[in-house]
């Protein structure tokens, strides 16, 4: 028994000492990228294997897998260590980013192994967005490919400053220095424009381990570091405490009346009790009273720490706002220029509205201008009407509410955002803010004394926008006309906005492409909003084929003000009626982008009223609309006996 206690004590001591060592290690996050089959996954597998991070049972499973799916005959296929999805192993490709962890006596590493296929670029961007360094792999036999350029460009766009140019499969070109030198020259030629701080070229063979963790005897001509040596030694940008204080408020912690704290992660700078801080959006200032954590109040908190701040004064702060240094404030604006990477199959369309999210804030946003698209190969600026999947462009964005931000170049946390599709909730784009276009404070709404309510009250009505949507020839205008006549006879003040009429004037400059259709609806939506503001009951008769634009208009208006009426007439019936002879032309191919023929119509999912027109008279249909208006309190004092249907 006497011996047990000392052994325990020494084990404990050893472990404490070991942990103290661990705590001193820095953390490097990097990704591997490059074209398909350049050996990214193999390289990571090799790194894990050579740094003894593969457990015995994992190795046994790997040997099994290698025989089943491997591409190296009887040899171990290291890529199978990271290609964790069934589809990936079956197809022998990487689809999504995998995160792996390893450490050496000097550093801890988080690796993102990203896919090379162009179609999975968004997954590469996901891996790059949190990385400090990128290993760009190049197959020595292939040289620089399109994806090498694309990934280098995206890495630079996302603010990665350190590149390792790993020229892989060097064994397959007889360890040729000439080939290595040529590829390095090619790379430096185009990457010179991308603003990297360092580019370290290394010739290696991931499959056989040359220059991966130690210098290879096969390439005596190479004097540089092996990959792992470089990863261990590359200097990391230290958190710069000189940067101005930024604290995006994530959560307001209010357990009782005595405590009101603002929780968040410090995006840059430091904070201590007594510091003056300003609420970015309101400009109100206060002082930090306490920096609260469960482990006790702190004297000082730095970039990256998740804390709760209590202020001296009762100032209004909610999620999405920012507490900042008074002497160096972020921009607050509702219009700004940004670089944007597009992730969705469905193209980005200027004018369409998306949800913009920053780290803690959210606003409805519209791309007001696509200034240009950037060609991935030449980095040239090209004029464009839309951005397709995986394309990069420079845009102007306008948000409904101002947001607080810094340029991405000076702060990755407060200068980034994503765009979300309103209907599918998919993440469709990622943006990096360049600069604000004008200060939101200069565009205050003109406060008016006569309100919407008073204007409507004068007319004894409640303003509304009744939005008729449906195919061309479905009967929208006919029904809207009759409804307006009846409303007018009831003494209501109305106006009809009709698709064809508006296209003769306000929208005469627009055609029928998807982009123009979006802009068409945006303008009409804004006009309808102004008219509703004037107290009118507005009847809008527009094909308006896309759900997202109808939804955009709905959100422009106050709750309950937008009533969507789906005039549902089957395509065959519309084509048979063909009041303007348009279907005949479209079906002959004489009109392009005709809704229902070669341009889609997205039927409403939850309209306020669904009108099946076939076999119904216009009078009956109009009565249904009137009934809807009564139900929604748009008209009152109405004789219900005329609800003949």
């Amino acid at each position: 028994m006497n011996t047990i206690a000392p052994i325990e004590a020494s084990a404990a001591e050893e472990i404490r000492a070991y942990m103290a060592e661990q705590e001193k290690k820095s953390l490097l996050r990097f990704l591997t990228c490059g074209s398909v089959d350049d050996g990214k996954s193999t390289l990571i597998g090799r790194l894990l294997y050579d740094t003894k991070l593969i457990f015995e049972d994992q190795l046994a499973a790997l040997q099994n897998d290698s025989r089943k799916h491997g591409t190296n005959g009887e040899d171990i296929d290291f890529a199978l260590l990271v290609d964790g999805l069934e589809a990936e192993r079956e197809q022998g490709i990487t689809i999504d980013v995998a995160y792996r962890f390893f450490s050496t006596p000097k550093r801890k590493f988080i690796v993102a192994d990203t896919p090379g296929h162009e179609q999975y670029t968004r997954n590469m961007a996901t891996g790059a967005s949190t990385a400090d360094l990128a290993i760009v792999l190049v197959d020595a036999r292939q040289g620089i490919l399109r994806q090498t350029r694309r990934h280098s460009f995206i890495a630079s766009l996302l603010g990665i400053r350190n590149i390792v140019l790993a020229i892989n499969k060097i064994d397959l070109v007889d360890y040729s220095q000439a080939i290595f030198d040529r590829i390095v020259a090619d790379y430096q030629d185009f990457a010179g424009k991308l603003g990297f701080q360092s580019i370290q070229p290394i010739p290696l063979s991931a499959r056989f381990g040359d220059n991966v963790i130690s210098a290879s005897a096969n390439m005596p001509w190479y004097k540089g570091p092996a990959l792992l040596e470089h990863l261990e030694d590359v200097p990391l940008a230290n958190a710069d405490e000189e940067r101005p204080f930024r604290f995006p408020v994530q959560y307001v912690n209010r357990p009782n009346l005595d405590f009101r704290g603002f929780s968040g992660t410090i995006a840059s700078g430091v904070v201590s009790p007594g510091d003056e801080v300003v609420v970015a959006k309101s400009g109100k200032s206060s002082r930090v009273k306490r920096v609260v954590t469960l482990d006790g109040d702190l004297d000082r908190a730095v970039e990256g720490q998740a804390v709760t701040l209590v202020l001296e004064d009762e100032v209004e702060v909610s999620r999405g706002n920012m507490l900042v240094a008074p002497g160096a404030r972020p921009e607050v604006a509702d219009q700004f220029a940004a670089h944007l990477v597009w992730f969705a199959e469905h193209a980005l369309i200027p004018g369409r509205s998306y949800i913009l999210r920053t780290e803690t804030d959210q606003a409805t946003a519209t791309i007001t201008d696509l200034k240009y698209r950037i060609d991935i190969n030449s980095f040239a600026q090209e004029a464009a009407k839309s951005l397709d999947l995986n394309e990069v462009g420079v845009v102007n964005i306008s948000t409904q509410e101002p947001i607080a931000f810094d340029p991405y170049k000076s702060n990755r946390s407060t200068g980034s955002f994503i765009l979300i599709d309103r209907l599918t909730n998919a993440t469709v784009g990622a943006g990096m803010i360049d600069f604000g276009l004008r200060r939101a404070s200069n565009v205050h709404w003109q406060a008016l004394d006569v309100s919407k309510a008073s204007r409507a009250g004068q007319k004894n009505q409640k303003p509304a926008v009744i939005w008729f949507t449906g195919l061309s020839g479905s009967g929208k205008s006919t029904v809207a006309n009759l409804v307006e006549k009846r409303l007018s006879s009831l003494g209501k003040h109305t106006y009809i906005l009709d698709g064809d009429n508006v296209r003769h004037g306000l929208n005469r400059d627009l055609g029928f492409t998807e982009e123009d259709r979006v802009e068409n609806i945006r303008r009409v939506g804004e006009v309808a909003k102004l008219m509703a503001d004037a107290g009118l009951i507005v009847l809008v008769s527009f094909i308006s084929p896309f759900r997202s634009e109808r939804r955009m208009v709905r959100e422009l208006l106050d709750d309950g003000e937008f009533l969507e009426v789906f005039v549902d007439t089957p395509f065959e019936e519309c084509a048979r009626r063909d009041p303007k002879g348009l279907y005949a032309k479209a079906l002959r191919g004489e009109i392009k982008n005709f809704t229902g023929v070669d341009s889609p119509y997205e039927a409403p999912e939850n309209p306020e009223l669904h009108l099946h027109t076939v076999g119904r008279t216009t009078e009956a249909l109009a009565s249904k609309v009137e009934k809807l208006l009564v139900e929604h309190g748009i008209i009152f004092n109405y004789d219900q006996s005329s609800w003949s249907i």
Binding site: A11, G84, A87, P255, G264
Partner: protein, 301 residues
């Protein structure tokens, strides 16, 4: 003076950020509490994230009725100590059918008593976000999963179509019936978890420490006989061995390892020289290749 955060401080801050993000943006979050060491760490992080308030969500334990008795005792004492809101759910149909890992095998048992039970509980309460303690270093398909991992209305994961996850900006939007599984300790390794437990002095189930326990050797694993439902097969014998567990689940599916580590430093030290991964002690992962991915697609955590 520049003082960078340590590795564990960074991981802790990231997890706290994620906890707060969910509390701020979801209508009805829940934390899946499975009682193991990762759950202990998650619980500790949740307490930190909302201090001085309590975590603004309940903790759900999906009880397969086959957990170690010591786990259940630990669960109840932690709920009492910290005062969190504990919800319990078991698949009653499964209980009525007498589903047993011994009779029906690990696959069927796990599917009915864990995956289906979890789906039932999520549907019953209408949770739109559920925290889990999964880590990317545990298994190949988990290494591929996002921190905010989208599930459709059938609770299913589509690994080929995950939302991009840029920076620390999380897309938390879901339609009715859909939900997000959230993994705040995605970027932690097993070693990080143990180091953090040691650093923060976090209570864990005593089964992680070595003690003499009654075990049976079966299918190459040491299974602890936690109650009489485990029948000995011909040729098997119950032995007292000095063992501990690296991972905890249903006792018939969880293999013990022989060990004399009775303190946290000893456990960490043992870990450092371990040559097998912790999931090796789990039968469910070995049923078939890609089995974790398959289970996740069906709604398993």
């Amino acid at each position: 003076m520049t003082k960078s955060l340590t590795h564990l401080q960074r991981l802790e801050a990231e997890a706290i950020h994620i906890f707060r993000e969910v509390a701020a943006t979801f209508a009805k979050p829940v934390m899946l509490y499975s009682i193991g060491k990762d759950s202990s760490v998650m619980l500790h992080l949740a307490m930190k994230a909302f201090y001085p308030a309590k975590p603004p969500f309940p903790f759900l334990h999906v009880d397969t009725t086959w957990k170690f008795k010591e786990m259940i005792a630990f669960r109840d004492s932690e709920a009492k100590r910290l005062g969190f809101d504990l919800l319990l759910h078991s698949n009653q149909e499964g209980i009525d059918q007498g589903i047993s890992p011994f009779v029906h095998g690990s696959n069927t048992h796990t599917h009915i008593m864990k995956t289906v039970a979890l789906r039932q509980a999520l549907d019953k309460y209408g949770f739109d976000a559920a925290f889990g303690g999964a880590r990317r270093d545990e298994e190949k398909s988990r290494a591929k999963e996002r921190i905010f991992s989208f599930r459709n209305a059938q609770h299913s994961w589509d690994p080929k179509n995950q939302r991009p996850e840029m920076w620390k900006i999380y897309n938390t939007r879901v339609a009715k019936g859909e939900s997000i599984r959230v993994f705040p300790i995605s970027n932690w390794t097993e070693l990080d978890v143990w180091q953090y437990i040691l650093q923060e002095n976090i209570p864990i189930v005593p089964l992680y420490y070595a003690a003499r326990r009654p075990v049976v050797e079966r299918d190459g694993m040491l299974i602890m006989r936690d109650d009489e439902r485990m029948q000995l097969l011909p040729g098997e014998e119950l032995q007292e061995k000095l063992v501990r567990f690296r991972t905890l689940g249903c006792y018939p599916l969880t293999g013990a390892i022989e060990s004399d580590a009775v303190t946290l430093p000893e456990i960490v030290s043992e870990m450092l020289i371990a040559r097998t991964s912790e999931r090796q002690g789990r039968m469910i992962d070995k049923d078939e290749a890609g089995s974790m991915e398959k289970k996740k697609r069906e709604g398993y955590f």
